[in-house]
């Protein structure tokens, strides 16, 4: 079987996202496209977890929690491309009876989903709990968690920040899709505090790194630094600087595509900018 490079895989996953959301006529393409590169890296290069070994209790392997549940399209596409379930399922996003619920569910037997997500701000706490249990179980693996920068307006994120630092949960690597956009506008206009997100995490007692979320070398470096922080007694937050809608010119850098599906014509235009590498589902 042909080996694909990370950019090739990511390009295909972006095509999958566009096609899934277009077919479903709803969903969240913007953040899915901005999160594609680091999630591709995580699942294809970084995590000690495979479709064959995955189990919900995470025993003896790394775990991943999606906190920003509306990023379901990218997670589903990454999981399918990595072999967690058949590619043909991708065409059923948001359909009645589909495994691919509008936001992730644990109730449909989908491998790779640890926890329901959608109501924002909850996943980081859950990931911290899983990481704490790994420590108690003397399981040296890592727990990963993806949050959004808009999601970081939720108070529970900062409750979790306090808790993770206070309990020294250094087997957790959280990362933020730092694209600066949310439904109603830019995160700066809506909430105002995003310019100093790094300072916030540092002041809460976390290790915090920034990285270019669209550069695989930068992503690799950031996860490497995250791993090295094991033993520091502090959890890790990586702020991945990204562009909402990355890869489709008319979707890039705007909140307009946070939660809107493209028309058939827009889909065709978008796919024209995204190389088909592994073959469409």
């Amino acid at each position: 079987m042909k080996e694909y490079t990370l950019p090739e895989i990511a390009s295909q996953i972006r095509r999958d996202i566009i096609r899934m959301v277009t077919t479903a006529k709803s969903g969240h393409p913007g953040g899915s496209l901005s999160s594609t590169d680091f999630l591709t890296y995580l699942f294809f290069q970084e995590m000690d977890q495979t479709p064959e070994t995955w189990r919900r209790d995470g025993k003896g392997q790394d775990m991943f929690f999606l906190s920003a549940g509306h990023l379901a399209p990218v997670l589903y596409a990454v999981l399918a491309r990595r072999g967690y379930f058949p590619l043909s399922e991708l065409g059923t996003l948001r359909e009645y009876g589909s495994m691919l619920q509008g936001h992730p569910s644990v109730r449909n037997g989908m491998k790779g989903i640890e926890q329901a997500a959608g109501s924002l701000g909850q996943g980081l706490s859950v990931a911290l709990g899983a990481a704490l249990a790994k420590k108690m179980n003397n399981d040296g693996h890592t727990v990963f968690c993806l949050t959004g920068d808009g999601e970081s307006e939720e108070g529970q994120i900062w409750e979790a920040a306090h808790f993770g630092a206070h309990h020294g949960i250094d087997n957790l690597i959280a990362f933020t899709d730092y694209n600066g956009q949310q439904i109603d506008g830019t995160t700066q206009d809506i909430a105002g505090f995003h310019k100093d997100l790094r300072e916030k995490w540092l002041s809460f007692g976390w290790n915090c790194f920034e990285a270019d979320g669209h550069d695989f070398d930068s992503i690799k470096l950031a996860f490497g630094k995250g791993k090295e922080a094991r033993g520091s007694g502090k959890p890790v937050m990586i702020l991945f600087r990204t562009v909402m809608g990355k890869g489709v010119d008319f979707m890039e850098g705007t909140n307009k595509w946070h939660g809107k599906a493209p028309s058939e014509e827009q889909c065709t235009a978008a796919l024209g900018q995204l190389k088909e590498t592994m073959g469409d589902y």
């Binding site: 919900r56 209790d57 995470g58 025993k59 929690f65 569910s105 644990v106 109730r107 640890e114 926890q115 329901a116 997500a117 959608g118 109501s119 701000g121 909850q122 996943g123 980081l124 706490s125 859950v126 990931a127 911290l128 709990g129 899983a130 990481a131 704490l132 249990a133 790994k134 108690m136 179980n137 108070g155 529970q156 409750e159 979790a160 306090h162 808790f163 206070h166 309990h167």
Partner: protein
């Protein structure tokens, strides 16, 4: 009627504390989390024996719910403790998504439920928690009546696989159920056989119902008294069997009349056997400061009010 011996007034939350310790001794996966209320939740003996299995979460209940869910995923059996209001109303969405919808084996230990919390007043006296928790698909709702039963319910919750809401209270109340009774989730407990009326009571109002039944017995009224220690899943068969005999019932609970046990039973009766029913519950009001005894009386929840409801419902037969 049987003799109900009060083995000494003691709070139901102490029953939880004793049950938690024993559950911890029986199963190394039992862990406890608390949001800055370990004294109120009587967790001290567990913490002393298992310091490495206790996690202080601070005044951050939402995070506590999530952390517990994550620990449950990895095989732990977390008990999260706070006042009933703060582990339901305050974090309803977290309980809904992170525990119930995600099918996590978390036990929600809810102390200081109802008006009998007393002096702290309405902000701390939840009268809506049963309603919220019973609406969540798959959530088991337990409401034991005294110290012994709360301890047994805690042990049963630890053994049960799935989310459980365990409701108990603050004040010292009579401890009158047998010490070694095993708690069976989903099973109503028939305390008295009778023929004129069924009293279906839960929590602190079971003792008030015992007092009411004693008073009514002297008037020649035959009471069938059933302790609804599990609110969900409701033991529908036992209730229907009883009202088929008595043809009327009174439901007594320390909760709003809307959304609580009374409405659950009203729905059951309307669907299956519509007999007259009266509710002893709080009628669309918030609580207030006072002693537990004062508040039980003021909110119409004590034995005389149950007696009154029984007379009324028998008259409606």
């Amino acid at each position: 009627m049987k003799d109900y011996i009060n083995q000494g007034n003691i709070d139901t939350r102490s029953g939880f504390g004793a049950g938690l310790l024993e559950a911890g001794q029986k199963n190394g996966n039992v862990v406890a989390l608390c949001a800055d209320l370990v004294g109120s939740l009587k967790m001290a003996s567990f913490i002393k024996e298992f310091p490495e299995r206790f996690f202080q979460c601070g005044i951050a209940e939402a995070n506590m719910v999530g952390v517990a869910a994550g620990m449950a995923l990895s095989g732990k059996i977390p008990f999260i403790g706070s006042f009933a209001n703060f582990v339901t109303a305050r974090v309803f969405d977290q309980v809904r998504q992170s525990i119930a919808y995600s099918e996590c084996n978390v036990k929600i230990a809810a102390s200081h439920a109802g008006v009998t919390l007393g002096e702290d007043g309405a902000t701390h006296q939840t009268l809506e928690d049963i309603g919220m928790m019973r609406m969540l698909p798959g959530m088991v709702v337990l409401s034991p009546c005294d110290y012994n039963q709360t301890k047994a319910a805690t042990l049963a919750a630890a053994e049960y696989e799935g989310p459980v809401y365990l409701r108990f209270g603050r004040p010292s109340m009579p401890n009158f159920t047998p010490v070694d009774d095993k708690f069976e989730i989903g099973k109503a407990i028939k305390m008295e056989e009778g023929s004129d009326v069924t009293i279906l009571a839960t929590g602190h109002l079971v003792w008030q119902s015992v007092l009411a039944a004693q008073a009514l017995e002297s008037e020649g009224v035959s009471i069938e008294l059933i302790n609804i220690a599990t609110i969900k899943p409701l033991d529908e068969d036992s209730i229907l069997e009883s009202v088929a005999k008595t043809h009327c019932c009174v439901v007594a609970e320390e909760h709003e009349m809307y959304g609580g046990l009374g409405e659950m039973i009203a729905g059951l009766l309307a669907r299956r056997d519509p007999v007259p029913m009266e509710q002893v519950a709080v009628n669309d009001r918030f609580g207030q400061s006072g002693t537990p005894v004062q508040l039980l009386e003021a909110y119409g929840l004590d034995a005389p009010h149950i007696v009154e409801a029984v007379r009324k419902v028998i008259h409606r037969k």
